[in-house]
């Protein structure tokens, strides 16, 4: 069996363990259901094609240090997994699921010598009024310092956010009804974007197909496409 396949078999085994373990992020997180485990074995990385879907849009974002920078700096140069969230989200199958899947994917990435330096996770808030850098720092917990390149971002304003939502095609809605027990609740379709080192979206996942082992297989597929790191940050071209 080729070495690559052996490696892939290892991944599958690792995920079988991961998806049945508790997700280490505090009590609140453990109260939530774990990521859904795929009821199939994903195809071997590199045996299928992830077609370019669109160029990741650019715009200004703000990191935990409060400094504004172009998002393109964080969607190029590495394989990037990006998701929009808002910290007040209570839908277990929305933002908390994204957090868990990122946590699971991150754990797999950390354990992989070939992927550790090649992958970046980005959690980007679409609620800039509430989700300040300080709030995002609290939301990140220890994730931003665990040795994994996991960025927690917000935007300087709603004005700065809009082109990112439009460019990624991320919907955000305000519910027509909502009681006083639901202040600040928004509804959105959870989407996770897999972006190659050149800043091109190659896969989009939503709740119905958001399996950590599939995501890692896709990341590995992109790594095989780009055996050498893509140097430096590439300036993203406008969205098609």
């Amino acid at each position: 069996m080729p070495r690559r396949l052996l490696s892939w078999a290892g991944w599958v085994a690792a995920f079988a363990a991961l998806t049945t373990s508790a997700w280490g992020h505090g009590d609140e997180a453990r109260d939530q259901p774990p990521p859904v485990k795929a009821d199939f074995t994903p195809p071997v990385p590199g045996t299928y094609t992830l077609h370019p879907i669109m160029r990741a849009p650019s715009g200004l974002v703000v990191g935990l240090d409060g400094r504004a920078r172009p998002l393109a700096e964080l969607t190029t140069g590495k394989i990037t997994l990006l998701s929009f969230v808002y910290t007040r989200c209570r839908d277990a199958w929305g933002c908390p699921l994204a957090y868990r899947v990122f946590d699971a994917v991150g754990t797999a990435i950390e354990r992989s010598p070939t992927l550790r330096s090649r992958v970046r996770l980005v959690t980007l808030s679409f609620d800039p009024r509430h989700d300040t850098p300080a709030v995002m720092r609290q939301y990140a917990g220890e994730q931003s310092t665990r040795g994994l390149d996991w960025r927690f971002l917000t935007t300087p304003s709603e004005h700065a956010l809009l082109p990112l939502l439009a460019g990624f095609g991320q919907d955000v809605r305000a519910p027509a009804t909502g009681g006083p027990d639901e202040p600040g609740q928004l509804t959105h379709m959870l989407k996770v974007f897999l972006i190659d080192p050149r800043g091109v979206v190659r896969e989009i996942y939503s709740t119905a197909y958001l399996y950590p082992e599939v995501v890692v297989a896709d990341i590995e597929t992109l790594r095989l496409e780009h055996p050498a790191p893509v140097g430096g940050a590439v300036r993203a071209r406008p969205t098609r």
Binding site: A38, D39, H51, L161, L162, L165, A176, S206, T207, R240
Partner: protein, 437 residues
């Protein structure tokens, strides 16, 4: 039927021992599993993709919006219509994954129109037209519009070279940019034909069915059934695809033109059902004891010798029942699917002189029926009723709720229906449209 008697038509079919299928697809329980914002309460609107008729109104294909909320003062009335200009054999529609946009296609002109239904659900408006599908993909007749995350998978019915049934799927981004194409398999038993798409994400399975090409679906029905060679050119396969790799894994022999595909939505279920137009059968697709996907005939719809022509099906959200519309006899039938291996018809009612699409609300208590199959296949004269009829369903009887007469309203031929709701609004209203401009 235009210049042919029904009897003559049926005799011709029996003699030829052939048949033909018909297009359809709809309702809240048949949407892509990737689609969010399912309407599980009262729908406010029914969008009807309507074929223009020469000399009727403006003669153009159009999207008609009907108020479907009983609490509204305009309940059962047409509240909006938007013409697309010209007649292109308007047929099916599909929402994007976020339900903000409704893609609608023409089987003749192969044009795709994208309507914004998110900004003001009561007043859809055109935001994009895709006119180069044949040139870019080689496929014509965009039929099924199936949401994937951030993308739309479009099933063609034909091809631009010979306009036969060999075709493929085109994958577009939600922004309307072509991503790639996938040819329907022509080896390992594949006939290359396409029709419907249905995905079971938990099993990584994409399932497709097969109909016929432009040469047939645009032909006058009388001429078609009188042409033995043309009548041979209908699909007889379904294909199991590896969803992630987008490669065909197994071709299933399902003779008689399998059309709409419905996966059971019940948690833990792992089967799909379809109806064959030519042979008037229900077929079940599920894995056998060894996990190998198989298709098998499980029920008969009406009397196949009379060619009832099943054209659309609608499954309950718990997988326990199935509506079946048959075009020729104008009947709406209900099958008990408690045991999907042995569906059992428990109800039938004549709901029109010709009926095609059937859509049910999420809870199954409201059922909508439309009349048109294809412009050249619809019946003629007094039999050419064109309508959307709404019914209430109490588990025992379909009771009329309202009707819109598309002839009287000078709208055209009523075909595909989708539901709309005013329940949600964009939190950042400036953002959504930019994604398709």
């Amino acid at each position: 039927m235009r210049s042919h008697s029904i009897r003559g038509f049926l005799v011709a079919l029996v003699v030829l021992a052939l048949a033909w299928p018909a297009p359809a697809l709809a309702d809240e329980t048949c949407n892509s599993p990737y689609m969010g914002n399912l309407i599980k309460a009262q729908e406010d609107y029914v969008y009807v993709w309507t074929l223009g008729m020469k000399g009727v109104g403006d003669g153009s294909d159009k999207l008609v919006t009907i108020d479907a909320n009983p609490s509204s003062s305009r309940y059962g009335k047409v509240i909006h219509k938007v013409s697309v200009g010209g007649r292109g054999e308007a047929h099916h529609m599909g929402f994007t994954d976020d339900r903000r946009f409704l893609w609608a296609g023409g089987l003749d002109d192969s044009r795709i129109v994208v309507f914004d239904v998110g900004t003001d659900p009561a007043r859809p408006r055109i935001v994009k037209r895709i006119t180069d599908m044949p040139k870019r993909t080689g496929y014509v007749g965009p039929h099924t519009f199936y949401a994937l995350p951030g993308r739309m998978l479009v099933q063609g019915l034909s091809n631009g070279k010979d306009k036969g049934g060999v075709t493929g799927m085109a994958l577009y981004s939600n922004q309307g940019e072509l991503v790639t194409t996938y040819a329907m398999p022509t080896t390992e038993g594949g006939d290359g034909y396409g029709y419907d798409i249905a995905i079971n994400p938990r099993k990584n399975v994409l399932l497709t069915s097969s109909f016929t090409g432009w040469n047939n679906y645009m032909m006058e029905l009388g001429k078609l059934v009188a042409n033995p060679e043309a009548m041979k050119r209908f699909g007889s396969t379904m294909v199991i695809w590896d969803l992630k790799a987008f490669t065909p894994k197994k071709v299933l022999a399902v003779p008689g033109a399998p059309l709409e595909i419905r996966w059971s939505l019940k948690e833990g279920d792992n089967w799909a059902i379809t109806a064959t137009a030519l042979t008037s059968k229900l077929w079940l697709v599920k894995p056998d004891a060894n996990g190998e996907w198989q298709a098998k005939e499980v029920a008969t719809i009406g009397d196949p010798a009379k060619i009832p022509l099943p054209v659309d099906i609608s499954i309950r959200n718990d997988g326990t029942g199935l509506w079946v519309n048959t075009f020729m006899d104008g009947k709406t039938r209900y099958f008990d699917l408690s045991n999907p291996e042995q569906p059992r018809q428990t109800y039938e009612k004549v709901t029109g002189k010709q009926v095609n699409m059937i859509s049910q609300s999420w809870d199954g208590t409201r059922v909508y029926i439309s009349s048109s199959l294809l412009a050249n296949w619809d019946k003629a004269g007094a039999d050419n009723e064109q309508f959307v009829r709404a019914f209430k369903w109490d588990g025992k009887e379909l009771t009329p709720a309202f009707e819109v007469d598309f002839n009287k309203e000078k709208l055209g031929r009523a075909h595909h229906m989708k539901f709309g709701s005013r329940a949600m609004k964009a939190a950042y209203p400036d953002a959504p449209l930019a994604s398709v401009r």
